[in-house]
């Protein structure tokens, strides 16, 4: 032994058991911080990949800017890529159509021709509209990457990219000659240069999409060809280099070229994930994230401080003894610090390694569960911020927390130790035994409160677990609002009647029910803007009929009243709560029916329905029988027929259904949009629930370990108690009372502050955006409180059983 500091590893070997719990606490804290920060990092990385894929790898779009200004902006060194982009018939309502190669047989190669018939891309298909986009090549190469599935970007103004749905329907091939017919019956021939992916919008609107070069695009709007970009309504997409100063660059461009707020559109999803969004709502999200991460750091710091503090007593005596044999206070401080760092040597790598392993496992599971959504997520990616924060928080906290015992030990008088009064070194608070509790319980409570610092740290540690859980649980509400989860009635396909006079026939519903690819089919009859008197006020309502499936789903969204009654009884209805609707259960409304004004008794109110009504009186749902009675409908049929497909349903099945629907009906395919929403919802949900599970587990481990440490530090005292006659049951009660004191005080503080934080975060993330008022999260509160109670029971049982099974002399001897 060359230096007195070599005592540290020797002492560590001797006190291995005692130190193990301290090390475990540091491991837990570092693990918590590494996992939470690392998971957040991985989440952001994966979301950025997804955002680039889904919304495009651009940062801002500029609207209504002239070419000169655009050229100046594009020449700036921070602009990596730019592209003009224009779109015709975005909503799919205008009469732009495609002509097939067969239709184009008689059309000349160059220039436009009048006449021509719409492209018959499929037998019996309605004439489907086409959405036309035009941009520079860089748009599909660098901004909307991977959109071209086959072929190349149009190399001339006469080449075109076509969406996959068009090729799938008519067997188009690269090199085929097709045409675009404009609303003024002009036909423009193009040669297919390749195929693009479908978008959820064109699938839902039942349209085709074509993509042209900027020059080709301008051919289709000859009247605007010589106009400036701002008149043509083209927008300029910009992608900046670097990820850091984007906000600054945007503000700089805005100021330098005098652009208004309306002229600049941001890619909120991408900029938000990069921490560069200037939107007020994103700023609130950053604030909430900062608060949550501050809480995580605080929890880690408190866990370490609390564990070291529990270890103070025994170590103070030990260092006091060193003072006796001649160690200077400075040497003692050095020794204590070295010991703390010695723990870090094991604990921090362990905590970081465990954290990284969990992140890898999580990423692996995510990739396995949803390759479509998480395929690009790195399985063995390292989160540098997560590891750095974990290491720094670990070392910093351990060193800071070690200062107290070091200072206390250095102040110990050698005389006090020499006189054998080592126990007197510890400051003790006299016990005032009030007879409101049994002596064992009272002493347990006293033990918890004996050291004010320890009590505060333990209370803080318990409270922070609750606060963390309650704060993070707001992100679930946020997720449920931001990413509308799939409603039970979410349809894969819809067949919509374009004209109320020609409803979708019930025979279609019957036929679809027989189709093996169809899981469920349900129709709705809609009478929009029906005159009605609600609450004495004349106005209109939207009357919608439900069948059994929809009534069953409505039960989940029932705010008051009953769903059952309206299904079984004519003349009754359900109101949909909303800004227009002041209708309550029990109200009677008058509705204009075929026989004059008729009564509908409202027997329930639901919060959601699949129909977005616009009538001032709100939406009223009734049974088909009531609907038919009211409207005097004799021709049976539906306004909308929704279809949910089985998992096995193929594209061929969808085409079959489309043909069954006939050319007159509007056919909408929502599968792609649903998949996107589902993907975002699941990925966000997995991370959010992952955070909550990690926090909950850490809370359990922390409680179990803290109580075990506390019991361990009082082992000798329990030995004395047992020697003078403390029974096993009494020992259990004593330790349980101590743990319960921490739990109750921590619970009260945690609930109070946690609810306050929950409210603050809810109002910032949800109320401010969607207007939903905050409600006490009773379910989440119950979960965390029950879990804490179970943890306390678990925490008490282990050490008590251990002490009980040890001979009293061993406990006395502190073995």
């Amino acid at each position: 032994m060359k230096s007195y500091l070599k005592l540290v590893p020797i002492s560590a070997r001797v006190h291995r058991k005692q130190n193990r719990m301290c090390i475990f606490c540091i491991v837990l804290a570092v693990f918590l911080i590494t996992v939470i920060f690392g998971m957040a990092d991985m989440f952001i990385r994966s979301q950025m990949i997804e955002a680039r894929e889904r919304y495009g790898n651009w940062h801002v779009i500029l609207k209504n800017v002239d070419e000169e200004t655009a050229a100046l902006i594009c020449a700036r060194p921070e602009v990596r890529t730019s592209s003009w982009y224009g779109v015709l018939n975005y909503s799919g309502q205008e009469d732009y159509t495609l002509l097939s190669p067969r239709d184009m047989a008689g059309v000349e190669e160059k220039g436009s021709v009048s006449g021509g018939e719409p492209m018959d891309l499929e037998e019996n298909a309605a004439d489907r509209k086409v959405v036309i986009c035009g941009a520079e090549e860089s748009f599909l190469r660098e901004i909307m990457e991977d959109e071209i599935q086959e072929g190349v970007f149009p190399r001339s103004e006469r080449e075109v990219l076509v969406t996959q749905n068009a090729s799938a329907l008519s067997g188009l091939r690269i090199g085929d000659r097709i045409g675009i017919r404009t609303p003024d019956k002009e036909t423009y021939p193009f040669v297919i240069s390749g195929f693009m992916k479908n978008t959820s919008k064109i699938m839902e609107d039942d349209t085709y999409g074509v993509f042209l070069s900027s020059e080709g695009f301008h051919l289709l709007s000859p009247s605007l060809e010589n106009e400036s970009a701002s008149v043509r309504d083209d927008v300029l997409y910009l992608q900046f280099s670097g990820d850091r100063r984007i906000r600054e660059i945007i503000d700089g461009i805005k100021a330098q070229y005098g652009l208004s707020v309306e002229q600049i559109g941001e890619n909120t999803a991408l900029l938000g994930l990069m921490g560069q969004s200037g939107e007020a709502f994103m700023t609130r999200i950053y604030g909430a994230a900062a608060l949550l991460f501050f809480l995580v750091m605080l929890a880690g710091i408190l866990m370490i401080t609390s564990s070291l503090n529990s270890n103070v007593a025994a170590r103070t005596e030990f260092y006091g003894m060193l003072r006796c044999i001649g160690a200077t206070p400075e040497q003692v401080i050095r020794l204590v610090r070295k010991e703390a760092l010695y723990w870090c040597r094991t604990a921090i790598p362990l905590g970081v390694a465990a954290g990284v392993a969990v992140i890898w496992a999580l990423c692996g599971i995510l990739r396995l569960l949803g390759p479509a959504y998480f395929g690009k997520m790195p399985v063995f990616g390292l989160s540098v911020p997560g590891i750095l924060v974990g290491v720094l928080a670990g070392i910093g906290t351990v060193l800071l927390a070690a200062q107290t015992p070091a200072r206390r030990a250095s102040r110990v008088s050698p005389l006090a130790v020499v006189s054998g009064n080592a126990g007197g070194l510890k400051p003790v608070r006299p016990w005032a035994y009030a007879r409101s509790f049994k002596v064992d319980t009272a002493l347990g409570i006293h033990h918890a409160r004996a050291s004010r610092k320890n009590f505060l740290l333990m209370t803080g540690s318990f409270a922070l677990s609750i606060m963390l859980f309650l704060s993070f649980s707001v992100t679930v509400d946020f997720m449920n609002h931001a990413l509308t989860p799939m409603r039970p009635w979410a349809e894969d396909l819809s067949v919509i009647s374009p004209d109320p006079a020609h409803p979708i026939e019930e025979s279609l519903v019957s036929a679809l029910k027989e189709n093996p690819a169809v899981k469920r089919v349900y129709g709705r009859k809609v009478a929009s803007g029906t005159p009605a008197v609600t609450g004495g006020t004349k106005g209109t309502i939207d009357l919608v009929s439900y069948e059994e499936h929809q009534f069953e789903w409505a039960k989940k969204y029932l705010l008051e009243g009953s769903v059952k009654e309206v299904f079984g009884q004519t003349g009754t209805g359900l109101a949909v709560s909303g800004p227009q609707g002041g209708i309550r259960a029990g109200d009677v409304i008058l509705v204009q029916g075929s026989q004059g004004m008729e009564e509908i008794r409202i027997v329930g109110v639901v919060t959601e329905c699949p129909f977005n009504g616009t009538a001032e009186g709100g939406t009223v749902i009734c049974s088909e029988e009531t609907f038919d009675n009211l409207t005097g409908e004799t021709k049976s049929g539906y306004t909308v027929v929704d279809i949910q497909l089985t998992r096995e349903a193929s594209e061929k099945d969808v085409q079959e259904i489309r043909q069954m629907a006939g050319p007159q009906a509007v056919f909408s395919d929502s599968r792609m949009g649903n998949n996107n929403v589902r993907g975002s919802f699941y990925s966000f949900g997995l991370f959010i629930y992952g955070f909550l599970v990690v926090i909950a587990l850490i809370a359990v481990f922390n409680i179990v370990n803290s109580i075990a440490m506390s019991v361990s530090s009082r082992k000798t005292q329990y030995g004395i108690f047992r020697a003078v006659g403390l029974g096993s049951g009494q020992l259990w009660r004593m330790v349980a009372a101590e743990a319960a004191t921490y739990a109750v005080s921590g619970g009260v503080c945690g609930c109070t502050l946690g609810l306050w934080l929950n409210r603050l975060l809810f109002q910032s993330l949800v109320t401010s955006r969607w207007g939903e008022p905050w409600q006490a999260p009773l379910w989440e509160l119950s979960v965390i409180l029950v879990m804490m109670a179970l943890s306390v029971v678990l925490a008490v049982s282990g050490p008590v059983r251990k002490i009980r099974d040890m001979p009293v002399v061993d406990v006395l001897g502190g073995k």
Partner: protein, 231 residues
């Protein structure tokens, strides 16, 4: 009247080469009011014997009867309650609870038994131990001798049938040691209690009724003033 009887008491620590036989077939008995001293070298097995007699540790073999009851035939909880009520302990290192004051430390075994301390008995003990003006002091505020007096008070408060003292004077100077001995004797006479005390001090052993010697785990009765009962 026989208060304590040990029959073929044996205690073995460890296994194989590390095996140590701390007690070897120890048998003896103590009468009510008898003041007995156990002597022996360090590591001879004295403390092991005391711990086994007081049910702080379980013997490997043999039986211990206190007031006719087989200690190790009882269930753990039953034994604890029995020990709480009938056996008092005094330790060399005092083993007081640092946050309890003098009075609380003394009455603590009664509190554990959910009994209300008898004020008169407490006053009497405080008086006898000379701790009346120290009753609100914490152990850390007392001298070694005073702390050991508190420990004696704690051992006597339940009026146990037997008091076991493991070198109660080991941490004290000669003056304090003499005081503690006198106190124990007075208590023994006053409450008719059987006292079994471990000591190295042969001067102290001289004043005992009986002296037992432990060497290599074997107990030898050295006799003493056996007939001269304390009264």
């Amino acid at each position: 009247m026989e208060i304590l009887r040990a029959e073929n008491l044996g205690k073995i620590y460890g296994k194989g080469e590390a095996k140590v036989e701390a007690l070897k077939k120890v048998s003896f008995s103590l009468e009510r009011g008898e003041f007995t001293v156990v002597t022996g070298e360090s590591g001879s097995g004295k403390s092991t014997l005391l711990n086994c007699l007081g049910a702080l540790d379980a013997p490997t073999s043999g039986k211990v009867y206190v007031d006719g009851q087989d200690l190790f035939a009882m269930r753990e909880e039953e034994r604890t309650i029995f020990r709480r009520r009938h056996i008092g302990f005094i330790f060399q290192a005092f083993q007081l609870v640092p946050e309890l004051d003098v009075e609380q430390n003394i009455v603590f075994p009664l509190l554990l038994d959910y009994r209300k301390p008898d004020t008169e008995a407490l006053e009497e003990i405080l008086e006898v131990l000379g701790l009346k003006d120290r009753r609100r002091h914490l152990p850390g505020q007392l001298s070694g001798g005073q702390q050991q007096r508190v420990a004696i008070g704690r051992a006597l408060i339940t009026k146990p049938k037997m008091v076991l003292a493991d070198e109660p004077t080991g941490n004290l100077d000669s003056k304090n040691s003499q005081d503690v001995m006198e106190l124990l004797m007075r208590a023994s006479r006053h409450y008719q209690q059987t006292i079994l005390m471990i000591t190295h001090n042969m001067n102290l052993a001289a004043s005992a009724d009986r002296v037992l010697r432990v060497a290599d785990g074997i107990l030898t009765d050295l006799g003493g003033k056996a007939d001269e009962k304390l009264s």
